[in-house]
Symmetry: C2
Subunit: 130 residues, 2 copies
DNA sequence: CTATCTGCAAAGTCTTTGCACTTTT
DNA sequence: AAAAGTGCAAAGACTTTGCAGATAG
């Protein structure tokens, strides 16, 4: 059976994701790590992220530019408001929304429902700059 | 200046997107069209979709599997509940949610905010089958 | 020691671009 | 006829896979 091993590469990936405020693409994480002088393959980053996703610690999300973004999954389910320009992220919680979606899904006979809610906009700083 | 011309290819793309209930990827649209016997290039589909997006009629959204999904931007903004297994889609409207998101965005100083809300689950038929 | 992991290079997707040809206007 | 559009093939970006060598336990 598969007993996962701990390697410095996996640790580095996890740390990089933490430092990025828990929201980064594989490519970004790769750059972060090698820019510190450490050397590892891009392949390893993808594999480490896949492992984190499978373990449930991390969540994968497709972004608008074709990259997959990764972030930590907190237990208290929250969503993000993301600046399209600078990437600044605000977490938020939507009271009542979780319940509304579950109800809606049930009404249509759907089960095992997950939801993806992300808001994209221009934050205050970037709005002024333009 | 660029005056857009009307071609049967663009019409076909628009129609295919309409027939797919306004939620499909470029690849899917391409398949839909050629399966009717018409012949056109994948390139053209991408270009037609890009034009629709630029004109504001259509909205592009990154999906979890790396493809970009396209859908019509209706004024009465609605969302989708999609079966992970068979792809069946139910449209829904979330009273109050639109207002809640706008308010939230404003509170954080964000402007030009768009949102992406999709629910993924297993529909009744597929749930029984498994 | 040995199952697992790493990393290179090659392959696979989806999407975009260059360029000659066709079509709308 | 001329500007715009089409389609092929090649290129690009992100991600996955195969395999030999390295490593954790």
């Amino acid at each position: 059976m598969s007993t996962k091993r701990s390697t410095w590469q996996k640790v580095a990936v996890r740390q990089a994701l933490e430092e990025s405020n828990g929201f980064a693409s594989a490519q970004e994480i790769f750059q972060m790590i090698i820019s510190t002088g450490l050397k590892l393959g891009l392949t390893t980053v993808y594999r480490a992220l896949t492992e984190l996703v499978e373990s449930g610690d991390v969540d994968a999300l497709a972004s608008e530019d074709g990259e997959t973004k990764y972030r930590f999954c907190s237990n208290d389910h929250h969503h993000h408001l993301i600046c399209r320009q600078c990437g600044e992220t605000v977490e938020f919680d939507l009271a009542g929304f979780e319940a509304a979606t579950s109800e809606l899904a049930a009404k249509h006979g759907f089960t095992s429902v997950t939801h993806s809610i992300e808001l994209f906009g221009i934050c205050e700083k970037c709005g002024v700059a333009s």
